[in-house]
Amino acid sequence: MTDYDVVVVGGGHNGLVCSAYLAKSGRKVLVLEANDVPGGAASTREFSPGYSVSGCANWLYQLNPDVVKDLGLRLDYAARDLSTIGLSPDGKHLTISGNVVTSDHLSAKDKAAFAPFQAKMVKFARLLNTAFKRRPPKLVENNIHDRMTLLKLGIDMKLLGKEDMQELLRLALINMYDVMQETFDDELLQSVLALEGVMGSHMGPRSPNTVFGYIYRRLGEVYGFHGPAQVKGGMGVVGTALASAATASGVEVRTGARVASINLKADSAQGVTLADGTTLTATTVVSNADPKTTFEKLVGFRNIEAGTTRRVSNIRMKGDAAKLHLALDALPDFTGLSGDQLGQRLVIAPSMKYLENAFNHVKYGEFSQAPTMEISIPTVNDADLAPSGKHILSATIQFAPYELKAGWDDNKKVFEQICIDVLASYAPDIRSLITASELLTPADLEAQYNMVGGHWHHGEISLDQIMMMRPFPGATQYATPVDNLYLCGAGAHPGGGVMGLAGRNAAREIIQRGKKA
């Protein structure tokens, strides 16, 4: 008799989603989260007394509606469908709201080209959604479910029409730089969109797969998000809401419980041992941890065959995104922005050349001298995050390497200063407003949120690492080369982004397999 039917390693959003579905199926489920709060990268973090910020993910922008419905999730939004404002040092900003781009400095041609471009990208995202809702199909085995998935994908692709289908096949493999060059003239517009293709990845606008990255983020539109949403209380509320939903379904959620190892007997997972030495047995172990953590640290490379260790170690997961958190005495004055515009998604990415230059540094283990940023001033929409009258600025910074050649310990302050200087060129008064600050490098994000490389997708989202190749060939459909060990995190199909589908799909697969047995 085992202690639990299922032990879920990691209480990130996918682990919680997965556990809730599994508990609903009648299983006795335990979630073990190393941190003191559930939610993983969906976290709210008090970085200075009284100042709380979404510690990793800034926004909610592609949470799957089926997951929300199935789990009875009720989230309080401080703001929804936020616009994206591309900042210009001289105040010549542009604003993207849904399918409309507005700016006094944009040509009529660019304005007219925007809506059709977005519509096409959303159309492609809708196609992706067909595959994302299901387990990834295996190609070799003639499984009827997998064949249906492939068939549906094929039909949906055909239904795009000849022109769009050709366009998808052309675009999917090329890069944002080329697509932006052929679609728009305005440097700022090109760059603001190109940034979305590289967010969180080790890619520059000229890297292949970046169009795919852009389409991936358009899934939000399919799921009813017309721009990012800000959750009241920060992203940590998503974590706690999911934990509550899981608990309501009968899941036991233990926080502060770090798993030290996944225990095997022969080829089969038998349970886990916690850092404090407690051993728990389970019929099924589900890992919400990224595949490298799961196999290298928890299972141990020595305990699995070399073919698997080789594939796991080859997964590309270099996070290049850092987080900057500033406590501010007052709202900063961004040149040319009105007060209510400060609550939107602000982007510093003046040109694609700027982006590419920012990326170049990380290839050589350096941080950008002029980084690009996605900025949120959450206190504009949700005053409770800071003491009365005070504000917070939270920025996702690219590019900062996971492994800084010169070492992060001595250089963190240097990079933080560079970031603040960049901010100051758009908001000149910002330096005088800062009362506290925190920079989380990819290495810090790794330590804080237990994800190798600080990569928030638990592995690069690129064509060679999606679908049946995610997380690696041979471990698709959530099962792994270790019997009774499943993956349910962002490292599994379809990926991260606080979408919840990896957790849901994994649970469905485990339930389905349980029926057969």
Binding site: D267, E296, F301, E305, T308, T309
Partner: protein
Amino acid sequence: MSAEDRILKMLLPTPFHDRVAAVCETNEWSNWKGYTTPESYTDVELEYFAIRSGTGVFDLSPMVKYRITGPDAEAYLNRLVTRDVSKIKVGRVGYTVWCDEQGQVMDDGTIFHLAENDYRLCSYTHVMDWMSWSALGFDVSIVDETTEVAALSVQGPTSCSCLQAMGLAGLEALKPFGIMDFTFEGVPLMVSRTGFTGDLGYEVWVEPALAVTLWDKLFAAGKPYVIRPVGGAAYELARIEAGFLQAGSDFVPAEETVRIGRSRSPFELGLGWLVDLNKPVFNGRRALLEEKKKGSRYNTVMLDIEGNKPADHAFVYVGNKQVGNVTSAAWCPTSKSNFAIANVDAAYGKPGTELVAEIYYERELHWTRIMAKCVVVEGSPFNPPRRRQTPAPAF
């Protein structure tokens, strides 16, 4: 030879090359994994009979050799190969195979347990990349020492006497698959009672600088014991007669196969005895467990064939149905048998099974086809007691 020279040379000479070339009268050379090696020296049959009646000396230096050391060496090898390495004690040698994760044999070879967590792995293929991948998570060092060790295979009934006469006192006490260390000309010399002939025999390992001296001393000492250098052809004949599989001949190393289904599992090669499924994990284990459950596709069998025409590359039939083909065949002079190793469908492997080999042979441009009856036999036709006797008998 410098590293640069090694790259520039199409084929490398072995450390014994000067001596080998001097006595290679036939001038028949072949390429053994990048080394120039003789197919024969004088006459293949004379050389073969040296192995069976006196001593044949075969230059083994091209054999690929890896040195595996470090705190995890044993654990590492245990995950790499199919057999339980912990059972190979210090001073012992073990024959083994290793598989890819589909449970297909990548190669066979021998593991020499030289000291605590100090091993040498000898293989047919170069497998550094696979060995390196397999090392993830293990604290081991893997060094290709192929060029740093010269080796001679000294095989035949008088082999022990030859080596004793060269000064290796006490060698007769060495058990099969055992290792003994000596000092030769002031440097370490290692002898293992191993070989590829099914006879009494040894393999002698020394640093390349001493290779020529070893050759000279050995041949001088062995003169009264009918010692003779042997080339690849004679060695091959002895190996077939002993029923040993040769990678590249009797199976294709899995990494070298191009077509689906051309690789073989250890069970399919009749090497199931080398697979320890009780080990917690090793490369290929999951696939081999699955194969155990589902059954194998093929069997590797030894055939005793009527007549005296070697069944090289023969198709093997049951009635009109082709069920396999011969991978190695020879008329074996000592055992006086027409012997072959064949790969057949799994259903036809049982000893005693009667099969038919379709043999083609040519006499003065005249080709003849015979359908020779054959029977699956257990064990090779050549298996003399001296192969196992300790102390080694003196001849």
